[in-house]
């Protein structure tokens, strides 16, 4: 998995690319600790480059979301497509999290 991030006001936009499977998923959780350590608590994850996600990836996202929420922060998502979007819908994550169609929407919201 690959991460790149940029600051937009008080929001941290994190672009996630690659695969979130049983082997790689923990990296998201690990990254989240670094965002928190740097004082970033409002995170928008841009998933346009995410090719694959399994329940292990969902677990990692949930764990990260709990950490951010515990620090009065938030985790939102944008640019989901194809299989990643389907997994978010079937798992209930699409209803549980704030979802934006594009990054522009996410930054405006």
């Amino acid at each position: 998995m690959e991460f790149s991030s940029s600051k937009h006001g008080d929001k941290l936009v994190v672009t996630v690319a690659g695969r979130m499977d049983a082997i790689t998923a923990q990296e998201f959780d690990t990254q989240c600790r670094q965002w928190l350590a740097a004082g970033d608590t409002n995170v928008i994850a841009d998933l346009s480059g995410l090719e694959y996600i399994s329940s292990a990836g969902l677990r990692s996202i949930l764990s990260a979301a709990k950490q951010l929420k515990g620090a009065q922060g938030s985790l939102a998502f944008c640019n989901l497509s194809g299989m990643v979007e389907e997994v978010f819908v079937v798992s209930g994550f699409a209803a549980m999290f704030t979802m934006h169609p594009t990054l522009e929407d996410a930054l405006a919201g």
Binding site: R19, D21, A22, I23, Y52, S54, S55, A56, L58, R59, L62, S63, A65, K66, K69, G82, M83, E86, V87, V90, S91, G92, M96
Partner: protein, 152 residues
Amino acid sequence: MTTHVTSFRMTNRMNCFKRVQPEVERFAMAHGLSPKCTFHLTLCLDELITNIIDYGYADFDEHPIDVTITLENGCVSVRIEDDAEPFNLLEAPPPELEVPLEERTKPIGGMGIHLVKTMMDGIEYTRKNGRNILLLRKCVCDDGALAGAPHE
């Protein structure tokens, strides 16, 4: 109608996704399965075999896991056979989908199985001779999955 079959063996020491994905993609490509159907098969195999690898064994030995994928009459069947501890996913409790994030007591148990139950059209479990045998069925006619299939 022609029957297409592929089988492969993996073990609990392998990287599940990396072993499963090329096998499913090769089969799907050869027989014109849709990207959506290919993804469903990949994800379900990944979820189920990852479960077996993570929770199925009481020892630290290497164990074989045998997978057979069959396409017949517009239906894909997947058979997974392993010698892990008995586990019937049909009896597993559902995940807490409706419970708000902060009220969840369990991390997120059962989500992989929920995805499998949603994406597959049929699931059968048998325990026989100390082995788990799981049969999954997925109809591929409904999403145009066979639209690009070569004519026989």
